[in-house]
Symmetry: C2
Amino acid sequence: MIHRVTTVRSRIEVTYTLPATSRRAAAALARAIALEQTAEMPEETVPRRIAPLVVGRVARVTRNGTRRWRVALSYEPEVAGGELPQLLNLLFGNVSLLDGIRVEELTLPPAVLKRFPGPRFGIAGLRRIAGVTERRPLLCAAAKPVGLTPVELAAICERFARGGVDIVKDDHSLSDQRWAPFRERVMRCQEGVARANAATGGHTAYFPQVSAPVDQLEERLAVVREAGCRGVLLAPMLVGLDTVRSLAERSGLAILGHPSFAGPYFGRRRGIAPAVLLGQIFRLIGSDGVIFPNPGGRFPWPVQVCLAVVERLRGPLGPIAPAMPVAGGGVDAGRVRYWMRLYGPDIIYLIGSSFYRQRDLEDAARRGVALLRAGHLTREARGA
Amino acid sequence: MIHRVTTVRSRIEVTYTLPATSRRAAAALARAIALEQTAEMPEETVPRRIAPLVVGRVARVTRNGTRRWRVALSYEPEVAGGELPQLLNLLFGNVSLLDGIRVEELTLPPAVLKRFPGPRFGIAGLRRIAGVTERRPLLCAAAKPVGLTPVELAAICERFARGGVDIVKDDHSLSDQRWAPFRERVMRCQEGVARANAATGGHTAYFPQVSAPVDQLEERLAVVREAGCRGVLLAPMLVGLDTVRSLAERSGLAILGHPSFAGPYFGRRRGIAPAVLLGQIFRLIGSDGVIFPNPGGRFPWPVQVCLAVVERLRGPLGPIAPAMPVAGGGVDAGRVRYWMRLYGPDIIYLIGSSFYRQRDLEDAARRGVALLRAGHLTREARGA
């Protein structure tokens, strides 16, 4: 019993679900995972001195539906050595190549958590950047499509800002295309937003997309800072999870994490549960906000999966600050009232197509913000 | 007809398989993908001037089994702008979040191919580094497990080198753990290999594992060069695909790409075909050798999937040099003769557990190399 407590507190614990026809087979597969992820050699060939140090341990095996089992393994943190690439390797390196195995839960001990930056701004910081003092959800709009000129994109940003959205971000496909080279686009768009803010007295923030080749990241971030932007959009699976971790530690900019290219991890019977990859790992590496595909949009995520992501982003995680969930992927402005009841005030609604369908972007944005304010006031009146 | 030819030559073409109950539904989903991956807004809201420039085009829709369809889409290369993160985004960014869609084929036009380094050493270069003049497969062994000291790991490297393996690589879980700090491990292991080479007159190369935090990569590569190593092991999904691309362009070291953490992409009805991700993208970013899980080992890949990977690594790809396939994941030294007939001479066999089970590593390695030489001579005698 004492051993269990020590294990949970000081070791990395990973829960996997896996296919097996019996408890015995499930336990055998769990032991195979414990070896594969650490010593990566047959049990009998692991030097006797090493095995108790490095080989993972099977803590629990429980049934999880028909022919599925849930196994909890614990690993010695030093195997990951406080490095993100090795932590990912330990969590799901080689066993990601086996069919039907899924990472369901991840528990990191304090000694590992403290090696990661987590959100530098987080929920409170994003509110500060967008100048939102009420405890209401934030509204984010996206400037698009790729192919427009910097002047055209800036005009869109300006209209959204005049309508009072809290954050305008670039679409994640805007980078450095010839139609709108990076520097000119960022400068123009920020000017457009600043012009709108000056006219309305608002505080809209503009977050450029910077998922660029790694050797151009510093230069692009310098442009972003020069323009006076306070945050950026980054897709961790496009630029590398550890690249985002490194930028979060030293860029001084807020980061919205985008799930582009992460989809293959989200199989029902393979990959990594969204609550772990988006809710914990994206947060751990320093995303201040994390975009997830909200139900009812273009991507078919069940509401309980999204709630689990939201919970992991905002819930306790040792010394790591909470991150802002960002509901995207086709949020209908007309249904925001429904989502507000579900998610509460600490969330960002990223509205794209629904605004563009309304043609008058400024008016669409204005009505969107009014809805969030009204919902907030209703909640306040109810004493929520 | 002229239009089709132009399209194929100058545009990026991606073939996806997807679920649909009719041709009409498949075509509609294909159009939705074409929009999602580019303009990312409803068709009717894309500015009329922009649509023909940036929105993907559906080239072909063909049946692919029961309720599965194969659709070929073409994209304007400038949408990716010659940047790897945006190329990945265009290929499978948001649609990776949809169920049941898989990237089956990727054809890049010359203008895109020339933006990527490809293997700097490739098949010929790895032979040169390992001093192998015969046209036989190479043998690679792995130093492990994590938890050993630098002296113990060096002893293993030395024994493999004395046995004559062509390359000794670190296990992909060796990084900078307190049991064997990076610098000391690399120096000792390289010394061990050099000692063996001096004794036998051999040319075994030692490739350290460097999938490190991105801000420590330069320092680690400097250690690798200082030690006199000519190549490294890198797991692109752990450090970022574009990080490997950048290192391939400027490190001057040969790169073995490891598939750790890439498994979720290899679903049968989701993700990216291994021939595309390992065979084309890993090669495009500059992997000189690419490790894949060989059939009959610990990972259940069908032989035709592996053959497709091998074919894509070695086959023509514009100006990009061929890369060496590395069959791993539990290759049985006793079955190498079988695989040699299948794969031919341009391949590396990565043998781990099978050697460790034999206890005498030097002898096991010696017999492994003898097998490859004999197989080669047999082929020569047959006029192969």
